[in-house]
Every structure is written in C-alpha cells, then in structure tokens.
Amino acid sequence: MTQARVPGRVIIYGTPAEEVDPPAKGIMWRGGALQGGRHPGAQPLVGRDATGSARIRRLLPQHRRGEVHLHRSSRASAHRLERPQRARGGGAVLLGGRSPALHLALEHRVQGVIPEGGIAPNVVPDHTVVDYFIRFPDEVYLEHMARMMDDAAKGAAQMTEPRSPSRATASIATA
C-alpha cells in the first residue's frame, strides 16, 4: 500500500484466549472494539428450499444393534462411536457455533449415543436424549468441553423453533 500509494487503513485486532471461554471476540464486539467490521465470509451456511425449510438427512448415526465396544487403539472403532458427536459438531457449526472436535486438543475423546431421537424425520419430538462420555486428562478443558456440548444441545433445542422459550431446554447426560 505504501509503495503503490494506495489509500486505506489496516487494523489488526489482537484477540486473546481463542482456545478457552469466555469468547474474547464477543467481549470485544460488545465493547465496541470491532464496530464497523464485517467478516468477508458472512453468508448463510445452509440454503433454504422453496418452501423455506431445510432438511438434514442422516443426521443420526447408524449404529448396529447390540453393544459396540471401544478399543483405544482402533481408530475405526473410535470414529464410529464418535459419529453422534460429529453430527452434533456439525449442528453447532450450522448454528454459528464451534465444533468441539475441531478446536480441542488431540487427547480428547467424545463418544455418544442418541437413545431417544424421535420417531420420524418430519416430526418434532417432545424430547430427545443424548448420552455422552467426554474424556480429557485436564479438568479445565474437560469443563470447557462439557459446556460447549451443553451449549450445542441448547442450540439443537432452539432449532425446533419452540412456541415458548421454556420449551427450548436441553441437558446432556455425561459420565
């Protein structure tokens, strides 16, 4: 810009603590530090069809009936068991949130099942249940991860467009 004599400005936003909560960028935004900024990728992530509805197919993982055991040395086994979490991570991204799988250290393990997920793709269930094991050898990240998953569950509840805010409740069972 200097050499070509191009007018303009450069602003560098130094944003702390990207890896942990609370989100520093949100604090900066609310504090006015990012006022006037616009993200170049700010566009809808999910298109809508002519009826204004969006359908997500095969969101639920297709587990075999019966027990599935995780062997720590088996990547394939781990991936299969993590499908619900991947789906939830994708749901978090669709909601504008963050995928836990993409932002946490490699030592984490999240395995889950959806024991109660509804009866049909076009029927909003009264309630759904997910059951997760969240493992990480550091209590700070473990708490952080559990909170992110809980937020994703609340977002998933919100996606059903409840008639009253009181219906948009969610909780995660962890062990």
């Binding site: 007018p7 504090g31 006037g36 250290a105």
Partner: protein, 100 residues
C-alpha cells in the same frame, strides 16, 4: 517474521495470560508505525493496532484477527493450533505491502 513466530512458539502462554506474546507483537507493530491500544474491552491481553496509508485513509479498511494463545497440554503448554504462526502472518510488512 519467522523469528517472531518461533519465539512465540517457544514461549507458549495459555488464554488470558499471553502477556509476552502481546508485548512482542505490539512492539513490532509500533516499530512499523501502528498506533496501539492495549487492554481493549477490559481485557489485559487484547489490543487493537491501527495503521493508515501515507496516501490517506480514504480507501478500504482491512481488518485482521490475530490470535496468540497456546493450548494446555498434558506435558506442558504448546502451540498446537498454529497461533504463533498466525499472528506473524499478519505482519506489518505483509499488511503494508498489499496494494489492492
């Protein structure tokens, strides 16, 4: 700029404690004519650095996000998410060399 990346990478600081990284980056940016505001939004390790082209401020404004915190690891803190490299990517030479 590789030296800055290496230095931050060798001195990992976890979120809310990135004092050395902020000190290093803001000193560097000051040296290239950026005006620095630190402690932005009440956060000690947040800053905003502004630079205006010698040709004037009437053109577009390019905003860049810099991140510099490390991950907590079971064997010590580390830069596993390349934040040490990301901030130096927003180096003042590079920013000032853009001519579009």
């Amino acid at each position: 700029m590789q030296g800055v990346s290496d230095w931050i990478g060798q001195h990992p600081e976890v979120g809310w404690h990135e004092f050395q990284a902020v000190d290093t980056l803001t000193k560097l940016l000051k040296g290239y004519g950026f005006q620095i505001d630190t402690g932005v939004a009440g956060m000690p390790t947040a800053f905003v650095a502004r630079w205006t082209s010698p040709a004037g401020a009437s053109g577009p404004t390019l905003g860049l996000i810099a991140e510099y915190d490390a991950l907590r690891g079971t064997q010590g803190d580390f830069h596993g998410d390349q934040h040490n490299a990301q901030s130096r990517w927003h180096s003042p030479q590079r920013a000032r060399s853009w001519n579009t």
